[in-house]
Amino acid sequence: GAGVSQSPSNKVTEKGKDVELRCDPISGHTALYWYRQSLGQGLEFLIYFQGNSAPDKSGLPSDRFSAERTGGSVSTLTIQRTQQEDSAVYLCASSLAGATDTQYFGPGTRLTVL
């Protein structure tokens, strides 16, 4: 079946611009996660959606970052006023539900801020 998809695969933007990254999870998965992979920081958790519960935003690095999940499916991660340190690969994952379920990752969006 279809896996997690992300778009765009690559995004180059100028410092100060806003960007939106999209994630389509596996159908039927109620949990959706965003992570960031960068050379300096490794793999970091950003935000977690589980069903209709309030999202866990504890990993968002600043208030320039936000995310929403519409209709319990597609999610959009928005970065406002991008900075060069935001350059990274943004990975989305989905799972059936909670902590014991395997997370399946998308191919990622490589963001470059010039």
Partner: protein
């Protein structure tokens, strides 16, 4: 705070030899442990996980890992390495009642030479 350590940035193995990639963790509560592999310019692929029960878990591509509670370790092993196993390996932990967010180690680059 939860943390995962992979003490080796790189592991070099000759094809056909056994391989071990080390992982230790620190959590408050029962850990759920995962191994993922990342090939160049690809997302993370799930290898195996430990949730409960038998300490030795077997996963994809002939990999296995042993959960050792007293040593807080979850080392990844394979009896006979293949050149195609060369990739970046990540250990991760999630904790019951803290959602499913994964805390990752910094990754270990495995290089298998013919």
């Amino acid at each position: 705070a939860q943390s995962v350590a992979q003490p080796e940035d790189q592991v070099n193995v000759a094809e056909g030899n056994p391989l071990t990639v080390k992982c230790t963790y620190s959590v408050s509560g029962n850990p759920y442990l995962f191994w993922y592999v990342q090939y160049p310019n690809r997302g993370l692929q799930f290898l195996l996980k430990y949730i409960t029960g038998d300490n030795l878990v077997k996963g994809s591509y002939g990999f296995e890992a042993e959960f050792n509670k007293s040593q807080t370790s979850f080392h990844l092993k394979k009896p006979s390495a293949l050149v195609s196993d060369s990739a970046l390996y990540f250990c991760a932990v999630s904790v019951y009642n803290q959602g499913g967010k994964l805390i990752f180690g910094q990754g270990t680059e495995l290089s298998v030479k013919p």
